[in-house]
């Protein structure tokens, strides 16, 4: 199997400037709000839409090259695609839907194998209208895999099913992924879905890909403010990067935080206005009974304003002392909350781990 490399622009009917890559066996989540160009990008990869310029490489060959005036058809690219509404052929039963995508030389028993793989054995003679949303999605997946595709494209495949079915399908897709050797692109606007299923994430906004990297890299170390907003970073503040004793520190109101991250540019500067962020799970709650060494690191006091508990994780909204009323969010396990007997209005000590503080330039 070969990687997928995309570097294209599109002017009409929508603006697109996309650069992404996906290695064999890897799943890349293309994340962005509605209308950001995710599906159009997928259509360009599949050959259903022709980009204005650029290059698309997949399956070890060039699929599109505007300079060479090369544009392979969807049939030639050999892609497997699962559409948002699945686009099953309503007049064909499950087995025939999958069989249609098989090459003429392929053994018909492959259909049965694929249906077993997607947990649909026994439903081969049903028609799409007789299936639930989750079952239809599985048929679409089996059909997409039937051609042994060079790339698997999933266009918001979970958007048409209920939440319970969705969780079940997540687990199934996660298990199925281990058996897939081709690059997989998952289009979604759901960050949790992307984080749960994908290895890499590419953020797209207004038709432009802003950042590609591992899930943690993009979610915790966004390249700039735009990416931070797209990945819904919860603790996002303005600050000043200052140089003291050959080391850089972050000044935030009355606080001066230690940093591990290297300065933003090679050119040394005395002071620079920056945005900074820290993941809520990386803020350390000081234990009142057993203070630890980590309590010394970027310690601040804060007053608990709100506590929201969901599925065993408590999110605390705290107002940091000496920060002109700015609020931090931190996630702690629910049992930690109970053990420390945290209550509303209580003053607590927290540490902003230096390694987790991420700074971004003010200019885009």
């Amino acid at each position: 199997m070969h990687p997928l490399r995309v570097n294209i622009t599109l002017n009409n009917p929508t603006q697109l400037d996309v650069e992404l890559s996906c290695e064999p066996g890897q799943m890349l989540a293309l994340v962005g709000p509605s209308g950001s160009g995710k599906s159009t990008t997928l259509r360009c990869i599949a050959g259903l839409q022709k980009p204005s310029s650029g290059v698309i490489e997949g399956g070890g060959q060039c699929w599109f090259d505007s300079q060479q005036r090369l544009a392979l058809s969807p049939q030639q690219r050999r892609v497997g695609i699962v559409f948002q509404d699945y686009a099953l052929f309503p007049h064909l039963n499950v087995a025939d839907n999958v069989r249609l995508a098989l090459d003429s030389h392929m053994d018909a028993s492959v259909v049965e194998q694929l249906l077993v793989q997607v947990h649909l054995s026994g439903l081969a003679s049903r028609y799409p209208a007789q299936l639930s949303g989750g079952q239809q999605q599985r048929v679409a997946l089996a059909r997409a895999l039937a051609r042994n595709p060079n790339v698997l494209l999933l266009d918001e495949p979970f958007s048409a099913v209920d939440k319970v079915t969705r969780r079940k399908l997540y687990l199934e897709l996660h298990a199925l992924r281990q058996q897939l050797a081709m690059p997989v692109i998952l289009v979604t606007h759901d960050l949790d879905e992307a984080a749960m299923l994908a290895d890499q994430m590419c953020v797209i906004h207004q038709g432009i890909t802003l950042q590609q990297g591992t899930i943690d890299e993009v979610m915790q170390r966004p390249k700039n403010l735009s990416v931070a907003r797209q990945v819904d970073v919860r603790n996002l503040f303005e600050g000043t990067l200052v140089q003291t004793d050959n080391a850089y520190k972050l000044r935030w109101h009355n606080h001066l935080f230690e940093l591990v991250q290297a300065p933003l540019s090679a050119r040394a500067c005395i002071e620079a206005e920056v945005y900074w962020t820290i993941a809520p799970a990386k803020i350390l709650l000081h234990q009142q009974r057993r203070p630890s060494k980590g309590d010394q690191e970027n310690a601040v006091n804060a007053v608990v304003d709100q506590m929201i508990t969901m599925r065993g994780i408590a999110t605390l909204l705290v107002t940091v002392e000496g920060s002109l009323g700015q609020q931090l969010q931190l996630d702690v396990p629910e049992h930690v909350l109970h053990r420390n007997q945290i209550t509303l209005g209580q003053t607590i000590g927290v540490s902003l781990l230096a390694q987790a503080i991420h700074i971004m330039p003010r200019t885009a």
Binding site: L48, Q75, R78, I81, D85, H91, L100
Partner: protein, 222 residues
């Protein structure tokens, strides 16, 4: 009952509807897929016989088929046959006048197929032609039957164009509707009634079939 006229009508309706099936399918497919700017004008042209008085359509067709006209002259030269006042001419005229009854239901049915169904077929490796034959045609077959029944029925009852192009030659161009007209003029009320009842029965049965098929086609996409 003028069985000779019935035979001519039946033969004309059968041949017209059979000719219109491939013509209607290809025209509807072109209209559905074409990015050509003048597509709407072409669609309007195919629908024109719906609103044009049959005598007007008949007059223009008769003029075109005249040997003095370049087109009519060319046809006589190449085939050695006069189209005006012949069964062949009647067939050509019927195909043109019934064209919208074939194209419109087929075009509406094709427009009803979501585009990503075609795209899914392409991504499954099917060529555009195979997609048409294996995906689109099976999905629109109720509309194909509707188109066939409508064109058959419309040709069976056509009067204006038939009279203009075919005249009233017994066994050649004299159809049932022309025979009814003749019977009324000759005060043969019983014969006119019998023939009218035959046409009424056929029309009622076929229109009922059309509605039933349309409902079935609608359900397929629900």
């Amino acid at each position: 009952m003028d069985w000779q006229a019935f035979q001519v009508s039946f033969k004309l309706a059968t041949l017209t509807s059979l000719c219109l099936l491939p013509i209607g399918l290809l025209t509807a497919r072109w209209l559905n897929h074409s990015q050509y700017r003048g597509r709407h004008f072409v669609e309007a042209l195919t629908a024109l016989p719906l609103v044009l008085p049959p005598t007007v359509l008949g007059y223009f067709l008769l003029t075109l088929m005249d040997t003095q006209h370049p087109l009519g002259g060319f046809i006589v030269q190449t085939t050695g046959q006069h189209l005006a006042f012949s069964f062949s001419g009647l067939l050509v005229a019927s195909v043109i006048s019934s064209l919208p009854f074939a194209v419109q239901p087929l075009l509406r049915a094709m427009e009803h197929i979501p585009n990503n169904i075609r795209e899914a077929a392409w991504c499954c490796g099917l060529s555009p032609w195979h997609t048409f034959m294996r995906i689109e045609v099976p999905l629109i077959w109720p509309s194909m039957l509707t188109a066939w029944i409508l064109t058959f029925c419309h040709t069976l009852g056509e009067f204006g164009v038939v009279l203009m192009i075919g005249g009233n030659i017994a066994g050649e161009t004299r159809t049932l509707s022309v025979a009814i007209y003749d019977s009324v003029l000759a005060f043969e009320r019983d014969q006119a009634l019998n023939m009218s009842l035959v046409l009424l029965t056929i029309s009622l049965i076929t229109v009922s079939c059309v509605y039933s098929l349309n409902r079935r086609n609608y359900r397929m996409f629900r």
